[in-house]
């Protein structure tokens, strides 16, 4: 019996090729999207899960009430002495580790590598699970002369030669021995590194070790089994006695209050200052989950619509089966069976397709999502169950609908008449599909616009044809003048500046207490940019008052300040030039420019020439170049810098690229969103196709009569198209406010955003009507051109 059903199902699949392909394509696309999105979500939720004790690991973080740095008073760091204090004071604390990641230079046999190093202590291996592949792990961190390499870094440095016991020089200072090889950091971890060394090697270690205001480390503690972290958290205020006096002594009005953040919540649920890496956002997980759900619902609606419309053609078979003795149950079984077969088939294709598409998908999202479906059986079973559920849901309506038709009517083929209830249902489904597709399309246009706006917005400075070379060697600052002179020799290099930061991400901030008119001794927090004489000119920043830094004024190198408009406004000044500020005087006011990404508003800033020692340890060599012959210019820059300060690898970056990188996450998600939207529109289009076929079939007789009575083909097509465009326009009217609401809220997340314009809705409306029109006309023209005698004969 079952075999018979499958036989019929299979043969009717083969017989109606166009229909089968359309139906299968829709369902498969839906499932591929669903699987890929599920993989993304699973990956995002899997962060830190590989640490065996993940549920007992907490990150010590702090709130500095009153310190509004880049929009939040939360900081993901803790003072170093807390480690020992916690271990001593609280029994439930099993281990505490301080972790810091910094880029540094590794040298082996004259080859140098710029890599990310993890500076930490012995507890690191007690808290986190890091597989040791070769040699030692935990014991290595007691000894500051040992370095542990990740598998891929070992391969990079030593090739196939055995890496153990080889020597590597760190930052041209310490000579270290390789004693162990550890696994590469998984991509679903909130920090990553290429090697591990003892934090005793850190230049600030001695200063930090007992300093309760040293916030150079990220601290993680391991709680004993069964202990409640809320209890511990409530007691962390006992350390106020150490921190408060220090903060007060330097005149700060705030001091840190510590609290604990569960390890597994870091990636998706928080975004503090000085995070180890760019965190994800649960918002995106929900958004993608929603899209995945929407697409799979669209696809099943589609299947239902197409199967119902197709079922009309199978009425005869149903009638015959009934006369031959099939009960209602038999027929329901048969149609559900078909639906199962179909979804199962499509699920298998979708699985293969997802596997093939995953690498491209990973490139698109910038992730390293593994194909976990086959790895863990329960995911596979879960997906299979979803596919079967889909089979039931989408097969149920056609099954019930067809099995309920009386055999006499079915054999006559006129059971479709007066099926108003079904029509209403199908119309609402199609409207629903189009509402979703149109809303998604509007969303994706607006996202596209906003991202374009960000990329093209006037920043307040000119980043065109600007390249920069970041460095961490203080010799470069020492030989600044030589480097500049050498570089300017090249005909394609117009301007050179060596400054601490580039305007993309100015992060240095601090308090200023003295300025003219500050009678109440107030304190102002302000961003700081340490520059040279050429910086403003190179970026073509616009002065609105006073002058820029100049060598002609000897005092500029010791006491000159330039403020931005926001700073002047905050100080409440009308004019600024000549007024006293901090330890010097204001010589000019510069037009506001963006200090960071558009997520942040422009804040007060001062610029001053680099004079203090700490501003010179690192920075950027910034060059304005001519675009032609870029490759040679690039080589020249690298060669010149290497000649002056050898060893360090120099990387020439375009300002434009660095700028785009800041919006990487949004850009990638935006792209993925566009693709999923297109697919949703496509699926909705196919749903319409199904409905039109059904309607055309129902109205075959009417069309025949109209033709006999002399209606033209155009007349008949218009007749059919009119009805459906009405549905699409209704969907547009419903989708518009929904999309507006959601996109308006999304744009609120940006400090600077586009206005939502009416033409977006019109454009998407036209697009949706176009898609609808194309699908409808295909079927309508076919129906209109058919011979009326044929359609009339069946009655």
């Amino acid at each position: 019996m079952l075999r018979n059903y499958f036989k019929i199902a299979w043969r009717s699949l083969i017989k109606n090729k166009l229909y089968s392909v359309i139906n299968l394509t829709g369902l498969t696309i839906g499932m591929v999207c669903f699987i890929l999105i599920a993989l993304y979500i699973q990956f995002e939720l899997s962060y830190e899960a590989h640490h065996e004790k993940a549920d007992r690991i907490y990150n010590i973080v702090q709130q500095q009430k009153g310190n509004d740095y880049r929009g939040t008073d939360l900081f993901a760091v803790a003072p170093m002495p807390m480690r020992n204090a916690l271990k001593e004071d609280f029994q439930e604390v099993e281990a505490v580790t301080n972790v810091n990641i910094r880029g540094s230079l590794l040298i082996h046999n004259d080859k140098s590598f710029s890599e990310r190093g993890l500076y930490t202590d012995e507890d690191f291996f007690n808290v986190f699970t890091v597989p040791v592949i070769e040699g030692i792990g935990k014991e290595a961190l007691k000894d500051p002369d040992i370095i542990l390499l990740t598998e891929s870094l070992a391969k990079k440095i030593f090739g196939n030669a055995p890496p153990l016991n080889q020597t590597i020089v760190l930052n041209s200072l310490q000579s270290l021995t390789v004693k162990g090889i550890i696994a590469d950091t998984p991509k679903n971890q909130h920090f990553d590194y290429d090697y591990i060394v003892s934090n005793k090697l850190s230049s600030t270690f001695l200063a930090d070790e007992n300093n309760w205001s040293s916030n150079n480390y990220h601290s993680y503690l391991l709680l004993s089994k069964g202990a409640d972290y809320k209890n511990l958290e409530a007691n962390l205020s006992i350390y106020d006695k150490f921190t408060k006096p220090i903060y007060e002594s330097v005149g700060l009005k705030f001091f840190p209050q510590f609290f604990l953040r569960p390890l597994k919540n870091i990636h998706l649920y928080s975004n503090m200052n000085v995070e180890m890496s760019q965190n994800g956002d649960i918002k995106y997980v929900y958004l993608f989950g929603l899209i995945g759900l929407i697409i799979i619902v669209l696809a099943s609606i589609n299947y239902m619509n197409l199967a119902t419309s197709k079922s009309a053609e199978r009425a005869k078979e149903v009638g015959v089966s009934k006369v031959l003795g099939a009960r209602k149950g038999h027929l329901i079984m048969q149609f559900l069976g078909e639906s199962f077969l179909f979804t199962l088939f499509s699920f298998l294709i979708a699985l293969c397709l997802s596997l093939l598409l995953l690498p491209a998908y990973n490139v698109l999202l910038g992730k390293d999502i593994p194909f976990t479906i086959l790895g863990s059986w329960w995911v596979l079973v879960g997906m299979l169950l979803i596919a079967l559920l889909l089979g039931v849901l989408s097969g149920l309506y056609p099954a019930l609908f067809l099995s309920g038709v009386s055999p006499v009517k079915a054999l006559k083929g006129n059971f479709l008449k007066n099926h108003k209830k079904g029509e209403l249902l199908r119309n609402s489904l199609v409207i629903g599909q189009f509402v979703v597709a149109i809303a998604l399309a509007i969303g994706s246009v607006i996202i596209h616009q906003q991202l374009g706006f960000i990329q093209n917005k006037k920043l307040g400075y000119n980043k065109d044809m600007v390249v920069h070379v970041p460095y961490w060697e203080k010799q470069i600052s020492e030989k600044e003048e030589v480097i500049k002179a050498e570089l300017l020799n090249h005909s394609k290099i117009d301007k050179v500046s060596i400054s601490t930061q580039i305007p993309l991400d100015l992060t240095s901030q601090g308090p200023v207490r003295e300025w003219e008119g500050n009678v109440d001794n107030k304190e102002m927090w302000i961003y700081r940019s340490y520059v040279d004489y050429n910086f403003m000119e190179l970026f073509e920043m616009e002065l609105i008052e006073g002058r820029g830094f100049s060598r002609e004024f000897a005092t500029d190198s010791s006491e000159a300040y330039i403020l931005n408009e926001s700073a002047v406004k905050k100080l409440g000044w009308k004019t600024a030039v000549g007024k006293k500020f901090d330890d010097g005087r204001v010589i000019g006011v510069i037009k506001d420019f963006h200090l960071q990404t558009f997520d942040f508003a422009i804040e007060p800033l001062y610029m001053t020439l680099r004079r203090q020692h700490f501003t010179r340890n690192f920075g950027h060599v910034i060059l304005k170049i001519k675009m032609d012959d870029f490759e040679n210019t690039k080589l020249f820059i690298e060669k010149t810098m290497k000649a002056v300060v050898p060893l360090a690898p120099y990387e020439v970056r375009f300002m434009e690229d660095s700028y785009i990188a800041l919006y990487e996450e949004e850009r990638r998600l935006g792209k993925a969103f566009n693709i999923f939207t297109l697919l949703a529109l496509f699926i909705a289009g196919m749903g319409l196709f199904g409905l039109v076929s059904f309607q055309v079939l129902q109205r075959t007789k009417e069309i025949g009569i109209r033709k006999v009575l002399g209606s033209s083909i155009t007349g008949i097509v218009t007749l059919l198209v009119k009805d459906f465009l009405r549905l699409v326009i209704m969907a547009l009217l419903i989708a518009t406010p929904i999309a507006y609401y959601f996109m308006y809220n999304w744009l609120q997340g940006y400090a600077y955003s586009i206005d939502i314009e009416w033409w977006v809705f019109v454009l998407v409306g036209f697009l949706a009507c176009g898609v609808a029109f194309a699908t409808i006309s295909f079927q309508s023209i076919k129906a209109a051109r058919s011979n009326p005698i044929k359609s009339l004969k069946t009655e």
């Binding site: 018979n4 015959v320 031959l324 003795g325 038999h330």
Partner: protein, 220 residues
């Protein structure tokens, strides 16, 4: 006596008027009969046949089939009754296009939950009896009309019914094929199967033992 119809009425309401499709039908059919129902278009022939086949309802009257009062039976019992005792043959054959000749003949047995081995032997007998063994793997579209109707008859006979209802079984066939089919019916009748056919053809009607003439829903 196989079946008995008493005072049977069927009507539809159209704009306040009651239009009678069948009007006071009295009919008794005995086992072994070969009845031909004749009459012009719209006289109610097919309606009467459908009612006898229990595919259609009626509004008033009595219908006893093998001493079971059909008019009082519930839908489910009625369905069981016709599945057990009645086979249908259609003017346009109504074979399932997706199934082969063999599978089409087999289908009624599937719905009656016959075992696989039983099905095989029954279908093989039927293929033998109608001389279509060589065509068993062909699909309906690969057969001529006459051959399709033979398959239709084979399918109707597979579950060994007491009564065959045939609605213009030769309506779509040419005269030679039609003659073949009618001879087949005659032979079946001789084997003891009761047959009721609806036909327009005087010639075909003569194969039967009795003719019932319908006009405007009444037996004349």
């Amino acid at each position: 006596m196989l079946l008995e119809i008493k005072d049977l009425f069927k009507w539809v309401n159209s704009g306040g008027n009651r239009i009678f499709l069948l009007n006071d039908i009295e009919l008794t059919i005995n086992e072994g009969d070969f009845i031909s129902i004749m009459g012009p278009s719209g006289s109610g022939k097919t309606t009467l046949l459908n009612i006898i086949g229990m595919l259609d309802d009626f509004n008033e009257g009595e219908y006893n089939f093998l001493n079971e009062p059909v008019h009082t039976l519930k839908e489910k019992y009625r369905a069981n009754l016709y599945k057990e005792y009645i086979g249908f043959v259609f003017q346009s054959y109504h074979l399932i296009d997706e199934l082969t000749v063999y599978e089409n003949i087999e289908t009624p047995l599937l719905y009656k939950n016959y075992k696989s081995s039983e099905r095989k032997s029954l279908v093989a007998d039927m293929l033998d009896r109608f001389n279509i063994v060589g065509k068993k793997d062909l699909f309906p579209s690969q057969l001529s009309g006459g051959q399709q109707q033979i398959v239709g008859i084979a399918r109707a006979l597979i579950s060994n019914p007491k009564l065959i209802l045939a609605d213009e079984p030769t309506g779509n066939l040419n005269s030679k094929q039609g003659e073949e089919i009618m001879n087949l019916f005659k032979q079946l009748n001789n084997d003891g199967v009761t047959i009721i056919q609806v036909t327009h053809s005087e010639k075909n009607a003569t194969y039967g033992s009795r003719i019932i003439n319908l006009l405007d829903g009444m037996i004349v």
